[in-house]
């Protein structure tokens, strides 16, 4: 069974972190189809977070088609992420390498590259959500 943790310093809200951790576990094969996610009560008892946070995370995962809730029993994994993302990794990695090379040629140092990437990434994520 997966065990959650919260990073208070991360820029992500708690429910986003939970969603991420489930996805990560699916990617790494720690969670397989049919595995049960911890109950809301278990997560809340371990992390001392609001139950609605857990419910929201599980709902989003369900919305993405990764898990399914069975009333009275629990929430179970219905899909994996391993295959889908792996296929896209290769070309994306190459594209990223090319972009990094261009950034360095333009004179940006490591920190500027990271700052540029993070701010753009965050703004884009917010725009997606909003």
């Amino acid at each position: 069974m997966i065990e959650f943790h919260l990073d208070t310093r991360s820029g992500l809200s708690p429910y986003q972190q939970l969603v991420r951790q489930v996805r990560q576990a699916l990617r790494l094969g720690l969670l397989c189809e049919g595995d049960q996610l911890p109950t809301v009560k278990e997560v809340v008892a371990q992390l001392a977070i609001n139950p609605n946070t857990v419910l929201k995370a599980y709902r989003e995962l369900e919305h993405e088609g990764l898990v399914a809730a069975r009333p009275g029993v629990g929430t179970f994994v219905t899909a994996t992420l391993a295959d889908d993302s792996l296929a896209a990794h290769g070309p994306l990695r190459q594209e990223l390498r090319r972009w990094l090379a261009r950034a360095r040629r333009a004179g940006l140092d490591e920190e500027s590259i990271e700052a540029l990437f993070m701010t753009t990434f965050r703004t884009a994520s917010e725009e997606d959500i909003a």
């Binding site: 208070t8 708690p14 371990q46 001392a48």
Partner: protein, 301 residues
């Protein structure tokens, strides 16, 4: 969903000093409400008014549809864990459970016993000999086992070490899920509230500064930073909560329902702590802009 606490113009005065002024709240049920504010802001006063320990000087308050402490039925609906978790030092843990059983018709003895067992509290041990964390857990057990609809806690973890604090909040949140409680929790520590609360009330200088669902508050409050600018020149609909300036730069914290279109601003999200601090730094009277409130919240990481 019906409201769990409804206050209209609620106020409490001690002699010449108003401990709580013009408090109007409408707290929905099944939330974990965080009540935040500096010392002396009126948090304990508000919670005492909600439990019926105090009577209002002005305005009214209704808890779960009834007047606080009006009768045994009303008292049974609300559980209270007061500051410093008072317990009878001469009574043992088992005696406290017996106290709960005798004084509460809705007492769940099995729940109480199971919780005490799980916490590892020795039933024969006197409450005076327990550690602070254990006493807080005992007080919480007494509050939960009477099966209330609303549980009110006044700074329950302020005096506890970090481990006891975590264990207490874990127990509290677990009980919230298991028994479908509404919870009102006052604290100095924003970090704990951040995890646990989905409704926030900020109380500063006897007044409610902001009250609302955390999600909505975080969605409607933003930090704008950019070149030095006069904050009064913002579009209508953007309310400035706090502003700070250097010679070149202005940073504003604003509340708005509409999206922000001005490209000159860098917009960033606020953490709950940032939001609370912004409201705590707001002067009480707009006519007195020179007054500087230094926030006294602890930052606990």
């Amino acid at each position: 969903m019906s409201a769990v606490i409804q206050a209209q113009g609620l106020g409490k005065r001690y002699g010449q000093r108003w401990a709580l002024t013009d408090c109007t709240l409408d707290i929905p049920a099944r939330r974990v409400v965080g009540l935040v504010g500096p010392n002396g802001a009126g948090k304990t006063t508000l919670l005492n008014l909600a439990t019926g320990m105090l009577a209002p000087t002005s305005g009214s308050i209704r808890v779960l549809g009834g007047r606080p402490a009006e009768g045994p039925a009303q008292l049974a609906k609300v559980g209270f864990v007061a500051q410093d978790s008072p317990t009878y030092a001469g009574l043992s843990v088992a005696d406290h459970l017996k106290l709960g059983a005798r004084l509460n018709p809705g007492w769940d003895a099995a729940l109480a016993r199971e919780r005490i067992g799980r916490l590892g509290l020795d039933p024969a041990r006197r409450a005076g000999k327990l550690s602070g964390g254990q006493r807080a857990q005992l007080a919480l057990t007494l509050g939960i086992a009477k099966r209330p609809q609303l549980l009110i806690l006044d700074e329950p973890v302020a005096a506890l070490d970090p481990l006891a604090r975590r264990e207490f909040l874990q127990g509290l949140m677990e009980a919230t899920v298991e028994h479908q409680l509404s919870v009102v929790l006052s604290s100095h520590l924003v970090a704990d509230l951040e995890r646990a609360c989905d409704y926030l009330i900020v109380l500063v200088d006897s007044r409610v500064r902001v009250a609302g669902e955390v999600e909505e508050l975080l969605a409607t409050h933003h930090r704008l930073s950019g070149a030095r600018r006069d904050p009064t020149r913002l579009p209508a609909g953007q309310h400035v909560i706090s502003a700070s300036h250097t010679d070149r730069q202005t940073t504003l914290i604003i509340r708005t329902d509409a999206p922000i279109h001005d490209p000159a601003w860098t917009v960033s999200r606020l953490s709950l702590e940032d939001l609370v601090l912004a409201y705590m730094g707001t002067p009480n009277h707009p006519a007195n802009p020179g007054r500087n409130h230094r926030p006294t919240l602890e930052v606990q990481r």
